[in-house]
């Protein structure tokens, strides 16, 4: 029974090893849980879970193991819903009348009805026009034909699908680390510019002895700043939508970057398709995580190296036109291209990593962006080249 908890947590992706498990058992042996299930619950959480981001997973597994019940449904889009929607089915074509009827729905109504429908949903549902499911006429679910439909998970069929709801619910990529990161790590090792800058706090013993001798024994202390890597990296990453197929290489890069401890500073921000007035501090891109792009530019000086990761493929309007943001609630007059220009002008070194092969860089927006930033393929070689471009001496 206890082991169910252990394996259950590991299945949920909680990083949990023998060491944590042993300390949990040791705590139980000392009787720290008393006789109450609640204290047992807290004890397990303190010993086994090391980040509040896994509390949810813990609750879920704990409930399943110790009450035989599945964790309660939240009011958000949950994985279960995603699962229901996994395989799209072909569905009957809509009549022009029905299309016209559905066309009337505005984005906000869609969002509202989406949430209402989720609340009513209690079983998998295909077809029909009421419930969330795949292959139905309902505006919700994916693979649908609704003219202004909201897509819930799944692969996008059309690359420029407007009004996507799912990007708000993405998990941070890097929580699911993948294997074989070594090559990526090695390529990133080159992100080094060792300099002696900052406060002179390290005693330079050789110089001190030299100077003292030159001073005929009068002690003359010489200090120098410690040697350290001066590279500060700003990561701007496209998440969701057309980036989904590249989950694997992107998550590898992200994991390697987060493990790269040599950087002087590292700040990741996320965006969807193009950068506008806000970027997000998490890949979930909740409104709470929004950071004004102008603030980022003000805070980080020109010495920061900027690494974009994105496919640069989007609807041309998203890049070039005012109010081009794919998220209707975040429309602003400044087109995305202006923000990209500001970033290009603000920082000395900026590169763009594209997960697509160079042969497919033909999209209009890709060509525009390539003129602004040197673009490299997201492969071990491409990362190597991009890193060299970031740290090479100025030409």
């Amino acid at each position: 029974m206890f082991l169910d908890l252990f394996y259950g947590l590991r299945e949920e992706g909680v990083p949990l090893g023998i060491q944590e498990w042993q300390s949990f058992l040791a705590a139980l042996e000392k009787g720290l849980h008393g006789s109450s299930l609640l204290r047992f619950y807290h004890l397990g959480r303190a010993c086994l879970i090391k980040s509040e981001t896994y509390f949810d997973a813990y609750d879920k597994v704990f409930a399943r193991v110790f009450r035989g019940a599945e964790g309660a449904f939240g009011d958000d889009v949950t994985d279960e819903v995603m699962k229901w929607l996994e395989d799209p089915k072909n569905f009957p074509n809509l009549s022009p009348e029905e299309l016209a009827e559905l066309e009337r729905l505005s984005s906000d109504e869609l969002m509202q009805r989406f949430l209402e429908t989720l609340a009513e949903q209690n079983e998998r549902h295909d077809g029909g026009n009421r419930w969330v499911g795949t292959g139905g006429k309902s505006p919700f679910g994916h693979g649908g034909q609704h003219p202004t439909g909201i897509r819930v998970g799944g692969k996008s069929k059309s690359r420029s699908a407007m009004k996507v709801a799912e990007e708000r619910h993405f998990k941070d990529y890097r929580t699911d680390a993948t294997l074989d990161l070594r090559q990526t790590r090695v390529a990133l090792r080159r992100l080094r510019q060792l300099t002696r800058t900052g406060l002179a706090t390290e005693l330079d013993l050789d110089e001190t002895i030299d100077e003292t001798c030159r001073n005929a024994g009068e002690i003359d202390l010489v200090f120098r700043p410690p040697r350290r890597n001066d590279v500060r990296l700003l990561l701007l990453m496209d998440v969701g939508g057309t980036m989904d197929p590249y989950y694997q290489p992107v998550s590898q890069l992200l994991t390697a970057l987060h493990e790269e401890r040599g950087l002087r500073d590292f700040q990741p921000y996320y965006f969807h398709n193009c950068i506008y007035d806000h970027v997000y501090s998490t890949a979930r891109m909740y409104r709470n995580d929004a950071v004004p792009t102008a603030d980022v530019l003000r805070r980080l000086d020109r010495r920061w190296k900027v690494l974009f990761v994105g496919d640069a493929a989007m609807h041309p309007a998203e890049l070039m036109q005012p109010y081009g943001n794919i998220d209707p609630r975040r429309g602003i007059p400044t087109p995305g291209i202006d923000w990209l220009h500001r970033i290009a002008n603000h920082f000395e070194r900026t590169v763009w990593l594209n997960p697509e092969k160079q042969a497919y860089w033909g999209a209009e927006t890709t060509r525009v962006i390539r003129k602004l930033f040197p673009m490299y393929h997201l492969s071990t070689d491409g990362i190597g080249e991009a890193v060299r471009a970031l740290v090479a001496a100025r030409s």
Binding site: Q19, A27, K30, A46, C47, R261, R287
Partner: protein, 293 residues
């Protein structure tokens, strides 16, 4: 399974309101002799907790406040080369005795102490990314060697180590594996009432209710850049009490908002809300189901 009870237990103190889960986590860390990692929003009382754990256990406390320039070795000891060079130049002090120039850091002092200590490593995430990893061995074995004198400092009483983090940086996995973890959630209104009672005893009940209503309403506004925290609430109540604000005024708007909101944009947003005649909550029902008691 025999239950042993031979370790010290922390039960909370009159000055600190700890939830039962937190007390359990502290006791678990003490019993297993592992560091306790405390995470949570600023102002949830992470640092204060260490003080009260020390008081509750009747142990002396050492604190080590981490800054961006702090190195792990500083916590163990510092060899004061410059002082020694100076002394040799001016002939003062006993230069031959290198031990006089070894100064123990907070961690070193905790190990060397003759009685068990509470050691607070405050804001561990402020330091370099490698910092926690550099301390692994010392925290595991509770011993280290001073290279200059070839002396070994080993803890005769393993200190109770509390580590706080504001989540500014990821902590390395190897470090996390060794810690007991506790996340201090933001207090719910009933717990908050008890916390306020510690700082402002005998506060008028209707006033307290009104104050909390406004406070949690503000925290629910997702547009805020910086949500007010406990310490700001306590300051705000002090300001209200000192100025003697009437209940009517408190019901219709938020006086002394500067005590609660620290970002210019937030203050602007609220005065804009006032200007547009925005309404304030009248009862807890207005705040949604989470606050229905």
């Amino acid at each position: 399974m025999t239950h042993r009870d031979d370790f010290l237990r922390f039960k909370g103190t009159s000055g600190y309101i700890a939830s039962p889960a937190l007390v359990d986590a502290v006791n678990c860390a003490i019993a297993l002799e592992r560091p306790l990692l405390l995470k949570g929003e600023p102002g949830t009382g992470k640092t204060v907790l260490a003080r009260h754990v020390a008081d509750g256990l009747g142990m002396p406390m050492l604190s080590w406040h981490i800054k961006s320039t702090t190195k792990a070795a500083d916590g163990l000891y510092v060899y004061d080369t410059v002082q020694r060079l100076n002394d040799s130049r001016f002939g003062s002090g006993d230069v031959a005795d290198i031990r006089k120039y070894i100064k123990l850091g907070p961690l070193g002092q905790a190990f060397a102490a003759s009685e068990r200590q509470v050691l607070l490593i405050d804001e561990v995430d402020k330091a370099d990314l490698e910092f926690p990893n550099d301390l692994l061995l010392e925290l595991d074995e509770m011993r280290f060697r001073i290279d200059e004198t070839n002396e070994e400092i080993a803890a005769s009483h393993r200190p109770v180590v509390l580590i706080t983090s504001n989540n500014e940086k990821e902590l390395p996995d190897a470090f996390l594996r060794r810690c007991i973890f506790y996340f201090i959630d933001f207090p719910e209104p009933p717990l908050m009432k008890r916390i306020i009672d510690v700082h402002h005893p005998n506060l008028d009940v209707t006033l307290l209710d009104q104050v909390l209503l406004k406070f949690y309403w503000l925290r629910e506004q997702n547009e805020l850049r910086k949500k007010p925290s406990t310490s700001e609430l306590i300051d705000w109540i002090s300001a209200l009490l000192r100025a003697g604000v009437s209940m009517e005024k408190l019901e219709s708007h938020i006086p002394f908002v500067g005590a609660l909101l620290k970002k210019e944009q937030d203050v602007d947003a609220l005065s804009e809300y006032d200007r547009r005649g925005g309404s304030y909550p009248k009862s807890w029902e207005d705040l949604g189901p989470r606050y229905q008691q």
